[in-house]
């Protein structure tokens, strides 16, 4: 038991981050050298229940990997109570598009419970891209793949009325 914790402590945080990043489709194709730097720059932080990560209109400028807990993407129109669109649980990654460029958020992101994340900012990501220009193409490809997968998954579920809302992949 004690040997386990001992050993666990011997693994540097950066190494753990590196393994996590390698497991994400968005980062997996990156050169190892670039991933190592990303793993060094990434920070771990904790949110309390109800903490707002960003709200509609903000530039999110960060990507998050949920390490523990739950993040919720919510929409709030006028004075209605918020509607939850999606839930991100342990191991889920969000914000890859925010890393690529500035874009005002359309929804709010809040912590549902005490949640710890690994996070990377667009500034940090761009710094790494400036050193590894080939990674830009890789990340674009990964982002497109993700958008495609997302829409594909939505086609069978969409009601006929809502099918008209699909088609983002044809833009």
């Amino acid at each position: 038991m004690s040997s386990f914790t001992e050993e666990n402590e011997q693994i540097p945080e950066m190494q753990k981050n590196l393994e996590l990043l390698k497991g994400l489709p968005f980062f997996a194709p990156f050169p190892v050298q670039a991933l190592k730097i990303l793993a060094l720059l990434a920070t771990r932080t904790k949110f309390m229940p109800g903490d707002l990560l960003y709200e509609k209109g903000d530039d999110p400028h960060r990507a998050y990997l949920v390490l523990h807990g739950i993040l919720a993407l919510t929409a709030k129109e006028n004075n209605n109570s918020p509607v939850t669109l999606r839930i991100f649980r342990e191991g889920e990654f969000l914000g890859s598009l925010a890393l690529l460029g500035r874009m005002p958020a359309l929804f709010n992101l809040t912590a549902e419970m005490e949640t710890s994340v690994l996070t990377l900012s667009r500034d940090q990501f761009s710094k790494v891209l400036s050193q590894f220009p080939e990674a830009l193409t890789l990340s674009l490809t990964a982002a497109l793949k993700e958008i495609n997968r997302w829409e594909k998954a939505n086609i069978p579920e969409a009601e006929p009325c809502c099918l008209a809302r699909l088609g983002v992949t044809a833009l």
Binding site: E9, P12, L40, T43, T45, M48, G57
Partner: protein
Amino acid sequence: MVAKHEQKQQKEADKTTPLVTQRSLFYWAFNGNLKPQIILLFVIILIVFSRVLPLEMQKRIVNESIALRDVHTLILYCVIYLIAVTTTSLLKLAINYLQALIGERSMLTMRQGLYHHILNMPLGFFRTTQPGMVVSSLMTELSAAGTFAGQAFAVPVTNVLTLLAFAGYLLSLHAKLAMATLLIYPVAVFIVPLLQKRANIANKTRVDLSRETSNQIAESISGIHEVQVHGAYGQESRKFDILVEKLKKTRIQWSLYKFGIKTTNNYFVSLGPFVVFIFGGYLVMHGELELGAMVAFLSAQEKLYDPWKELITFYQTYQDASIRYSRTMEYFDITPEFPMIPPPEHSHKLANGIEVKDLVFETSDGHKLLNGITFSLTGGEHLAIVGFSGSGKSTLVQCIGKMYQYTRGSITIGGEEVSSLSKAELNKNVGYISQNPFIFTGTIKENLLYALKPILPEPTTDNENSNVNGDEPELDRMILVLQQAGLFVDVMRFGLDSFIGQDDSKMIKTIIRIRRTFREDFGDRMRDYVEFFDKHSYHMNSSVSENIIFGTANDKKFGHHLLPENPKFRIFLTESGLLQPLFNLGVELAEQVFDILGGVETPDIFFENSPVPADRLEDCKRVLNHLKKKQPSALVPKEQSFLLSLALNFTPAIHTMTPLRENFRAIILSARDKFPHWCDRTVPGLFLFYDENNYIHGQSILNNIFFGKTKSDLTHAQEKINQAIIHLLIEEECMEQIAAIGMNFQVGSTGDRLSGGQRQKLAIARVLIKQPAVIIMDEATSALDNKSQTRIQRLIETRWKQKRTVIAVIHRLDTISTFDKIAVMKTGKIVEWGTYSELIDKKGILHELIYGRK
């Protein structure tokens, strides 16, 4: 002295004197320099006399003293000779000093005049002018004109008089021989200007090319981001190469002509002695000339050469200076569009109704950016201008703010035509917030008061004891404005991140008190965001050396960055068995960093997360190479210190490439226990150890309140900390003091220590503090986050409605519904006008802009 000078300038401006750019070069030499010039003339007359005297003495020594063997007169003449020569040197020094004095004084007034003029030039001029060009004009090109202004009177007068005196003296000695030798000079006078003309052409080209080159450099440097991001090094270099190549050719040509003039001149002058020898020699042989007179002639020839040479050089300097001067002045010869100084009796507060009628703005090439704009707003109404980019929104508000002169039509504010209002009157009544505000080097406070200062009454400088800041607004008002603009929390943070003086015992006491309250009220809640100092635990957000010492040194030699080289500290490390573990850690860090950043082209952008400083990656590589063959303890002292510096700087929370091992943590903690005892023995009193009841100098106010350090600089953590601290500071009635400290925060060159949002908030605050009747916002909130934007929105809605007229160019359409009127612009015209609901109901262009084309 300066104030006097300004008064003089003001008087000049009032008399509608010509622009500084239309002054002749000679104006600067004489204007305000009359007294030194007259003294100069007097000295010159003396020097001419003292220059001719030695010639006469020479003649008399040969003809009278030597020929008649009269020792008595020989001594007398020699003494007179000596006195004359000494006086000449002294007078020459006096002339040089006076010249320099006049030159510097004229350069000063020239620079001040031109700079003042440039600041008032129309904005359109600066769109095509690079700052570097203005710099080189003011600093380089004008300095030649200044040097010339110093010489403008002295040099020609001295030398022409000297020449005339020598020539007169020679003519009196022997008219025929004198005529023959002086004949050379008219020939030179004929040839030199011919060459000079060519030199001038080359020089004009050179001035223009230099300006073009400095423009090119300025452009590339200001666009360096684009250059590097597009890899356009080649293109930029080529543009530069072509220009400097041309410049080189022109400069060679110019030099050739310049030296051509000198050589021609030298040649003619050296013909002088030749004439004296051949013609004078003949005359002496025939008894028509005394030998003494011939000696005097020969010396005079040589002496004639000096003033002549100086005249030629002066002629060249004049040509060069007048070209530089006229080229520079022509470039800036544009009349300011708006009179700057208000007739004081007219300066008053305007009413805030605005009427715009048939407004047209045409660019110089006839393009109509505004084409017949008409609308009116009653005082206190709020107008949002929306529309496509390039529709003339910004041009419209810039015309109302009198940044550009409109071509036709009228704009009235409070019934007064904007074009007839002075700029100062307008500044008092209209506040303009731009999209990309410029922040000036200095403190937050200086920037906050930047727009207010020009409209405040001049502080009286006559009384030395008078408070210079006498008219500064109250601290309360500044705080209120910062709150309204949403910059207050940031300013508080700047204050909290500052250091306070060791002697500020009152503040220190307050902070210690706040520290206790903070720990009691917030200690538990903040544990996730703050790492509190605790004698018995290792601090992950502090370096190894901070963890060992747990205190601060009174001696700079024991500062953290110097510890690795400090021999006494090294003894402590050895004694407490830390040296080897630290070496091991240093090696591990060096290896890790080299593995991660070794292959990166510009590793310095990642230095924040690296224990190895940006410029020492090469050292890192060398040390690692040496370590293949040697133990760390066998390395040269410099390399040992390097490894120690890595280890002592290791901060586990930041340098995540290496873990903090359990046994290492234990050694460091036990070293922390031993350190105070060791200090008592070796360096008593040098260290002050952290204690909950003592203020820690060398740590920020915030860290002192915490008695710890923040764990994370992420936004949500910072927000929680800010909330807690500000709440506490208000309770402890210490908020104003910290805000005042924060307002003295230096924003860096052009505000680069502020974020884009902070810069924009500061720009909003500096207009709010003016309390203008009319506020113009040109996409003024575009760089703000959602919260800050909402805050400004609320301010406009609740505080300004019916009080201040607002005209806002708005990019984000979700914020316009609260405005009284909406104007939709397209190609220089208002195509839709009305209230929000009217326009939405109409389902016209605004509807389309908001909801898109269905």
